[in-house]
């Protein structure tokens, strides 16, 4: 027995010895350079050719360490680190497996004393469920002033430069809320263009957004919104005042004054702004310069009466801030009051007044089959809009599962556009257009939650819009004043009532709706001419158009695995009645049964990318501006008329869209294809004379088609510490026109726009931004086989200098080449800003200089299949501004 134990012990000991021989160990002693034992230190074991990755470690206590390696190394790098001491390292080449190493270290004292390190804000974003949270500070470089400047820098978020419209992951946002409250509705640019960026701590991008909490479980989940979270201390009462004064090159005073006040308490939230400027800034959500529609106007387009006579819209090849010679007063108040736990009232008030001036020179050369001639107009335009508007929204939870909402709006707008033209260099013409626009809206919506996943809604909506216009032209000819006076008045009255059932079954969602819609659009116009002696009527229209529709629509959204399949349909019966009060024109009636199916498929490839495809068939009646038969004078030269038709327009559309947004790798990409084919449309027949143009629209069941593609890609590249973005869009359009009594001509037009953007993120005081824009328009007429090409180029280069927390400087160079075939016709704008913010962050001082080279005019040449045009416009002249800002 004894012998057996002895043998067993020997065998065990031998085995242990073998293992210990095979195991590689290291041990040693660590002291300080002062001769003391190091109390605690970390020994890090790395592969020498990968020094950033720690493979194993041991913590030394009281100077001693011992460790048995679990991994193998080609060249072992040992690093010793301890607080207050300089780190030491040693290398062992080809460490042998059966060898025990004894290595001592001596740690020199580190004399550098760190005091404080702030590492907050490094995390740029974080995903929490449906919400992506962006840390505002991580995206700012000091050049930003308003929230919109920050939003432009957030990956996945796009902001339209002109309208301020925001998209998130390719979808338009419903609104931008403030601390969870929808203060601005669809006019969110009031917040994004006026709230200072340093008030914001985080921006939340919310998917599956719905303002109505009762719809949370039944909503389709396609809506997105942004929410601004404010910094602590900015809540309760805060705001800022900016006062900027300077002068233009013409010695006229330049001024830009703006005050914003934000107030947040438990039961009250408000944001108000008051501003005045004549330096080209538009603080309001309304674009009176180029008349681009904002998100709210696009959504409400259906309520608006048609504007037959358009105010001048200014060419915006250059950005409007460079040529918008304005004089704008703007005031806005937005407030939410919580009356009781169940009731809230929201009030939005607007007041705006502006005076926009522009001088233009337009020369057209027409090459027609019968003759050719040149026209020229030197034009001086003023646009004077005023608008007063009040919106009220009341919400009352009649019970825990029901909500009653009333939304009312009343708006009065007046735009005066006095214009002076020197026609063909010898005929002075004075124009005056006055447009009055009155809109009222009443909407009552009741939501009742029947079960957890079934909700019914009842809606009654009534809108009224009247749009009377008076357009006067006065021509001075041979001691006589010849006047044309055009009255044009469209009204639109609409009433809608509908009941909607929304429900969910597991992950699927469905919607069924039954409704009626009645629209009444009367129109009256009268063109009369007068001279010193007499007045005659030239042309009159008096009609009433009525449209009544009863419809039923349904949609079912199947969600399984990564797919979302959504078939939808709409079945409606449409009555149209067009009555002319002038008995020469016969009345028109039509009745149509309309079926519009559509199918949408979305496939989620992974957490960061998705593919969406849609095919749809859509039928629309024609718009009322095609129903008047007799001439209406719409500009000094242009007469419009129509051959009315109540036929319907059919459109079949296909789209395919790929989206990828990898926030961790700072990469995003979008690729979209959109194809539309329309059958039945109004085409234009143009009759061109030296002093006038007649445009008659007529309906044909001929197809037009368009193909649009867009491609966007952006990536942060670490080794050059820069972000690169490429946007490219291409569209191909086939359209028909008829010029100078000729047969119909088929034209093809393709447009390409490319934008390359580069921005550096160096850790030094200086950074750069660089943007190239290239555009090409190519038109081709099939009959004559003539091709016309217009190419243009824009280049913007920005230097950003931030030597410390207090100072910031930027220099911007913008180069415009409107026509690449005319290199001598180029424009170069320089501007600069110097900003100083003392330690007390409440104050800030800016010095701004714009259009330093004092460019006076801008010229652009456009060519099409029957004419070439030279367009010249005045520009906002050189000006300097000294600004003082105070935040409270």
């Amino acid at each position: 027995m004894k012998r057996m134990f002895l043998v067993l012990g020997f065998v065990l000991g031998f085995v242990c010895l073998c293992f210990s021989l095979k195991a590689q160990t290291i041990k040693g002693f660590i002291t300080t350079s002062e001769g003391d034992t190091l109390f605690t230190g970390n020994l890090l074991f790395k592969e020498a050719n990968n020094p950033n990755s720690i493979r194993e470690f041991v913590i030394a206590k009281n100077g001693n360490y011992q460790y048995t390696f679990k991994k193998e190394y080609d060249t072992l790098l040992i690093e010793v680190k301890s607080m207050g001491y300089l780190s030491q390292s040693k290398v062992i080449f080809n460490p042998q497996k059966d060898k025990n190493y004894k290595i001592d270290f001596v740690m020199p004292v580190d004399t550098v004393q760190l005091k404080q390190v702030t590492i907050k804000g490094n995390k740029r974003f974080e995903q929490k469920g449906d919400t992506l949270i962006y840390e505002a500070d991580a995206f700012l470089n000091g050049s930003e002033r308003k929230v919109e400047d920050l939003l432009k820098k957030l990956p996945g978020v796009e902001v339209d430069e002109n309208t301020g419209a925001i998209k998130y992951k390719g979808k338009p946002v419903e609104t931008v809320t403030l601390e969870g409250d929808n203060l601005f509705g669809q006019n969110y640019t009031l917040g994004t263009r006026n709230i200072n960026v340093d008030m914001v701590e985080q921006v939340e991008a919310i998917e599956n957004y719905n303002e109505n909490p009762l719809l949370k479980d039944v909503d389709n989940g396609e809506k997105v919104a942004l929410n601004l979270k404010l910094k602590k201390g900015k809540i309760d009462f805060s705001g800022n005042t900016d006062i900027a004064l300077g002068s233009f090159d013409t010695d006229k005073i330049a001024a830009n004054l703006n005050t914003n006040i934000l107030s947040i308490t438990k039961n009250y939230k408000s944001f108000s702004t008051l501003s005045y400027n004549n330096t080209g800034t538009n603080y309001s959500p309304f674009d009176y310069f180029a008349f681009s529609l904002n998100a709210e106007q696009l959504n409400e387009k259906d309520w608006y009466a048609q504007k037959i006579i358009s105010e001048s819209y200014f060419n915006n090849f250059l950005e409007s801030r460079l040529i918008n010679v304005n004089n704008q007063f703007f005031g806005n108040y937005n407030g939410i009051f919580r009356i009781k736990k169940r009731m809230s009232i929201k009030l939005n008030l607007y007041a705006i007044s502006d005076n926009i001036k522009n001088n233009q020179f337009i020369e057209n050369e027409y090459n027609l089959s019968t003759n050719s001639f040149v026209t020229s107009d030197a034009i001086s335009i003023q646009k004077k809009p005023t608008q007063y508007r009040a919106d009220i929204e009341m919400k009352y939870n009649t019970s825990k599962n029901s909500l009653l909402e009333y939304k009312g709006k009343i708006r009065q707008e007046k735009i005066k556009t006095p214009t002076f033209i020197l026609q063909n260099q010898n005929t002075p013409i004075s124009l005056n257009l006055i447009t009055k626009d009155f809109l009222s809206k009443h909407e009552l919506l009741f939501t009742q939650k029947l079960k957890k996943q079934k909700v019914v809604q009842f809606l009654v909506l009534s809108t009224h819009n009247s749009l009377p216009q008076t357009f006067t032209t006065s021509t001075y000819w041979a001691d006589q004043t010849l006047k044309n006076n055009q009255e044009s008045k469209f009204s639109r009255n609409q009433t809608t009532a509908k009941v909607t059932l929304l429900g969910a079954k597991n992950n699927d969602r469905y919607v069924f709706e039954l409704g009626i819609k009645n629209e009444n659009t009367p129109y009256f116009s009268l063109l009369s001419a007068s001279n010193n002696q007499s007045q005659i009527s030239i042309s009159e229209n008096n009609l009433d158009y009525n449209r009544f529709k009863i419809y039923q629509l349904g949609a079912y959204h199947f969600n399984f695995n990564r797919f979302k399949i959504s078939p939808t349909y709409s079945l409606s019966y449409l009555w149209q009645n067009l009555e002319y009060f002038d008995t020469e024109n016969s009345n028109l009636r039509a009745q149509d049964l309309i079926f519009e199916p559509a199918l949408s498929i979305k496939y989620k490839l992974n957490d960061i990318s998705s593919l969406r495809g849609k095919v749809g068939y859509n039928v629309e009646p024609n718009t009322e501006n095609h129903f008047f038969e007799n001439d209406v004078l719409t500009t000094a030269r242009l007469f419009k008329s129509n051959i009315p038709n109540l036929n319907l327009r059919n459109t079949i559309s296909y789209s395919l869209f790929y989206f990828n947004n990898n926030l961790d790798k700072q990469f995003d990409m979008q690729l979209g294809f959109f194809y539309n084919r329309n059958e039945g449309n109004f085409f234009n027949r143009l009759e061109i004379l030296p002093t006038s143009i007649k445009n008659q629209s007529f309906f044909l069941n001929l197809p037009t088609s368009s193909l649009n593609t867009n491609f966007k890609i952006g990536k942060y590249i670490d080794f050059i510490q820069s972000t690169i973005r490429l946007d490219a869009s291409y569209s191909y359009l086939i359209y028909i026109n008829s010029v100078d009594s000729l047969e119909l001509r088929t034209n093809k037009s393709n447009n390409f726009d490319g934008n390359l953007f580069l921005k550096t993120h160096f850790d030094i005081a200086i950074n750069f931004e660089n943007t190239f824009d290239f555009g090409q328009n190519r038109s081709q007429n099939e009959e004559t086989n003539t091709i016309f090409i217009n190419r243009n180029l824009k280049h913007k280069f920005k230097i950003l200098i931030k030597p410390n927390q207090k100072w910031f400087l930027d220099f911007t160079s913008e180069y415009f080449l409107p026509n690449l075939n005319q290199l001598e016709n180029n424009y170069w704008f320089l501007s600069s800003t110097i900003r100083f913010r003392p330690k007390n962050k409440k104050w800030q001082y800016n010095l701004t200089a714009n259009n330093l080279l004092n460019i006076q005019n801008f010229e652009q040449i456009q060519i099409n299949d029957f004419s070439s045009s030279v367009y010249q416009s005045s520009i906002l002249s050189r000006h300097f501004l000294m600004q003082v800002s105070y935040s409270f």
């Binding site: 109390f39 605690t40 230190g41 970390n42 020994l43 890090l44 990968n50 950033n52 990755s53 720690i54 493979r55 194993e56 470690f57 041991v58 913590i59 690093e79 680190k81 301890s82 607080m83 207050g84 780190s87 004393q113 760190l114 005091k115 404080q116 390190v117 702030t118 590492i119 907050k120 490094n122 995390k123």
Partner: protein, 248 residues
Amino acid sequence: MKIKSYLLLCIIFLSTIFLINAQTNKVTYQYTSPIKIDIAVLYYNDTVSFFNYGAFSEGKDETNKQTSTNTADMSIVIDDSDSIGTYQYISNEKIYERRNIKKKYYTIIEKFTPLDWQLIDSTQKIGNYTCQLASTFCYGQTFYAWYTSEIPSDKAPWKLGGLPGLILHAYDKERKHEWKATNIEFDVEFDFSVYPSDDEKITLKKYSDLREEENQKIMRLAETIAAQHGGSVSFEQTNNYLEKEIER
């Protein structure tokens, strides 16, 4: 014998001096859990760490304090009402943690066992620090930690620790609980020498049992009230506790 005693005394004295003179650093974390977002503060030196949730202010005294005679290798937390407090022993003997059920506070004593960290070959920058990823399985779930060897301290938020660098970012696998460092201050003043000693001392198992007992009481009360009104009530167990199991 006399020499040995003098030697021992000198060693204790020197250790104490070293303890007193060791640089103390402060790390502020943002702590996120399913029910709240909070600030957490870690004070540490070579031998001691102190971790606390809520807006801790030095000098706040909510409980009776007593100078400990066993001052070597000890960390203390004093917490306010509903926050979790953590004690940590660096001497590899015990972890002390102060927690409450309703208004009653307990000091939970656990045996300290070193965590088995797996170093992962993945790095990222947090602030100006290069951090490496590591993971460990403790208390019934996996935790991940980004630590920086540029600050060679094995201290960490909560009861994580033992890596060759200060942990700047840690989270559980489901990211229900997350600690993110936002600020580091070097060479600060802090007094480690006090701790609350009048709380009842229990084990982590006992604390878990007491907590479950309290949850059952609340559920039974809710059922009774619902029944009195002719209704019923259902409960959803979310299990958002940091410790899913007792074992470290």
